[in-house]
């Protein structure tokens, strides 16, 4: 499987008055064609930061300080913003944002907003051709093309989410990033949207990054997963193996904190403590203050990105031969 995206040691900091926020550090993963990677972790662990780095959409105080992001082999950290905007954003990589339900402009018709997205990148395309493409996109995401003349407020939450997915697909990207596509949606509508994402991924052979704090969504939608904790990937590998035998104590904790609607009724288990402040993360392994296996070395030295078996990596002293 050829990689659409390869991220190597991506490190992104935000400058603040109180010092740098180490929001993403040494993040390494790749995404192949037709493959979905789930990026999971608790609030504030750096998921959106990784997405914004890949899209060169970081706020002015955010900066990639280290690492490579290879899109179809080309390092996009190095290329100019202007070139990125013209050549890669929407055409190569596109995103459906977190809380995007309100991202549509309320004063324009939904169909016009989708055709606008096409026009920006295909300025020479004829009007009829554009309309045809809009209708196709509507069908692809399960919206009635007859509703293209509606305004956003005439759409329900789920329909708006579909329209945004249509927009993100307007220029045939090779990689689609969706950041928490299901928050604010009811379970039935959320499961319709996930099904749609799976279907378009298959149909268009898209590479996909699905960002979620919900492990079960990743379990149902992705082939691979990366578990982020406090700005770093704790573990990375295929979904089946990771669930069957989670390596990192944080992954183990997260999986057992997740109730399943199936199976036995059990008491839920929490992970003691809370995630750290990224202005001042713990020394050594960032998880050590919450880890029941913490050893001396965990406090002193940061574990490296350890290749446990083919395709599986973990950042934990229990596995690394020190």
């Amino acid at each position: 499987m050829s990689a659409v995206l390869q991220v190597e040691n991506l490190t992104t900091f935000y400058t603040t008055l109180r010092g740098p926020v180490r929001a993403a550090e040494n993040v390494t993963f790749n995404v192949g064609k037709g493959e979905a990677l789930g990026l999971v972790g608790e609030s504030g662990c750096g998921k959106t930061t990784v997405a914004l780095s890949i899209l060169k959409l970081l706020p002015s105080n955010g900066k990639i300080v280290r690492g490579k992001i290879l899109f179809e082999g080309k390092d996009i950290v190095k290329i100019k913003d202007k070139e990125f905007r013209q050549e890669i954003r929407w055409k190569g990589i596109s995103i459906v944002f977190q809380g995007a339900m309100n991202a549509l402009n309320p004063v324009f018709k939904v169909g016009d907003q989708v055709s606008e997205a096409i026009k920006i990148h295909e300025p020479r395309m004829k009007k009829e051709e554009i309309n045809e493409r809009v209708a196709k996109l509507f069908e692809l995401v399960g919206l009635d093309p007859g509703r293209a003349d509606n305004y956003p407020h005439e759409f329900s939450g789920g329909m708006r989410q579909r329209a945004l997915i249509a927009m993100s697909l307007a220029c045939n990207p090779a990689l689609l990033i969706s950041d928490e596509p299901c928050t604010a949606l009811d379970v039935i509508v959320a499961s319709q949207v996930l099904k749609l994402l799976r279907e378009i991924k298959e149909k268009l052979n898209l590479g996909m990054i699905l960002i979620s704090h919900d492990l079960s969504i990743v379990a149902e939608t992705c082939e691979k997963m990366g578990i982020m904790y406090a700005g770093m990937l704790a573990e990375y590998g295929n979904v089946m193996d990771t669930f069957k035998k989670p390596l990192h104590p944080y992954t183990q904790g997260l999986i057992s904190a997740f109730p399943s609607i199936k199976g036995e009724r059990t008491r839920m288990v929490s992970i003691p403590g809370i995630p750290p402040d990224l202005l001042n993360p713990p020394t050594g392994c960032r998880f050590h203050p919450r880890c029941k296996y913490a050893m001396d070395i965990c406090i002193k030295k940061e574990p490296s990105w350890w290749n446990v078996e083919k395709g599986r990596y973990v950042r934990c002293w229990l596995y690394e031969k020190g």
């Binding site: 608790e42 039935i188 499961s191 969504i217 999986i255 904190a257 009724r265 839920m268």
Partner: protein
């Protein structure tokens, strides 16, 4: 079987729809949101009763009605055998110590300018408990009960000096300080990170076991309901569609709506078959709910005109189970 602590009979709450100027020109008819539209259920003493359903189904409104934070439009609320549906606020006040609430958002529900001690003591003051020694003892005990230990360490902190989970525990402590019989917990963990949710949920289970506290647990998360609740009622557009013990309702749902909901819940296990959504579309407006069975516009098991014309009542189908669907039972 234990007695009912709370009984609800044919409870209704309609909210008038505020209409824009032009709408009032077109039609004079006052429209209503049928937020809660004739529901009946019983919460047994010392159980955790889940009220589940999608957004807008009427869960929060039901919770607020039971606590008489809002007036019912119609129907009965019976608490410990006493009809409290329309009693005046003056009489309600003495009951309030037995009825408490924990809200969804630990960031908004605590006054940011008060220290923990003041926040937790507030219900005591409202109830006229002013003896400083008694207040302080009760506050410390409430904090200990929610495992904010040692209490001294937390008494003088402001909410912003606490983590999300700790803040929500302060909210629970405030609800506990009067030793209530009944707590309405409205999505108490939905704003919290997964790794700390279990703390709050297990806390509820502990209180239930230790003090026989009764809970109405409002949630849209069926997976959570399955693990901590005893009974469940599933609401849709102001109506109860199905009711029974959690194990029965979630493992063998009868109502096509419950079935759809259960199937839609993602499972944190990639070896399980993926959930396939069987129903289309989204919830219709509660201003003009569908005729007959409210779910008929989306129902995959539609059996004909009867679903469109006749409203199914919530009938007993054996054991602890109730369902409102024409597929079950013969109605007269």
């Amino acid at each position: 079987m234990a007695d009912a602590l709370v009984e609800v009979e044919n409870l209704k709450k309609l909210f008038p729809v505020r209409m824009g100027f032009f709408r009032t020109l077109v039609s004079r008819k006052q429209l209503f949101v049928h937020a809660v539209d004739g529901i009946s259920f019983k919460v047994k003493k010392s159980e955790i009763f889940a009220l589940a359903g999608e957004s807008g189904s009427g869960k929060t409104t039901t919770g607020r009605l039971l606590l008489r934070l809002i007036q019912p439009t119609e129907g009965k609320i019976i608490f410990e055998g006493r009809d409290i549906s329309f009693i005046p606020e003056r009489e309600m006040k003495s009951l309030r110590r037995k009825l408490q609430v924990v809200f969804q958002d630990p960031y908004e529900s605590l006054n940011p300018r008060m220290i923990v001690e003041t926040i937790v003591a507030e219900p005591l003051r409202v109830q006229g408990v002013h003896n400083p020694k008694e207040v302080s003892e009760k506050v410390v005990r409430a904090l200990e009960n929610v495992e904010l230990i040692p209490a001294d360490e937390f008494l003088f902190r402001y909410p912003h000096e606490l983590s999300g989970g700790q803040r929500q525990r302060v909210a629970v402590a405030r609800a506990l300080v009067l030793d209530p019989e009944f707590i309405v917990a409205d999505e108490p963990v939905s704003m919290l990170d997964v790794s700390i949710r279990a703390e709050i949920l297990n806390l509820m289970v502990n209180l239930q076991e230790k003090f026989s506290t009764t809970f109405l647990y409002i949630t849209h998360d069926l997976a959570l309901a399955r693990h901590i609740c005893n009974s469940i009622a599933v609401m849709y557009l102001g109506k109860i569609m199905e009711m029974g013990t959690v194990d029965e309702v979630i493992l063998e749902p009868l109502h096509p709506y419950t079935r759809a909901l259960v199937v839609a819940v993602p499972v944190p296990d990639p070896t399980m078959a993926r959930s396939e959504v069987v129903i289309k579309g989204e919830i219709p407006s509660p201003v003009n709910p569908p005729s007959g069975c409210r779910f008929h516009t989306r129902c995959p098991s539609y059996i004909g005109d009867i679903c469109r014309t006749k409203e199914p009542s919530l009938i007993h189908v054996g054991g602890t189970r109730f369902v409102a669907c024409h597929l079950y039972g013969k109605e007269k």
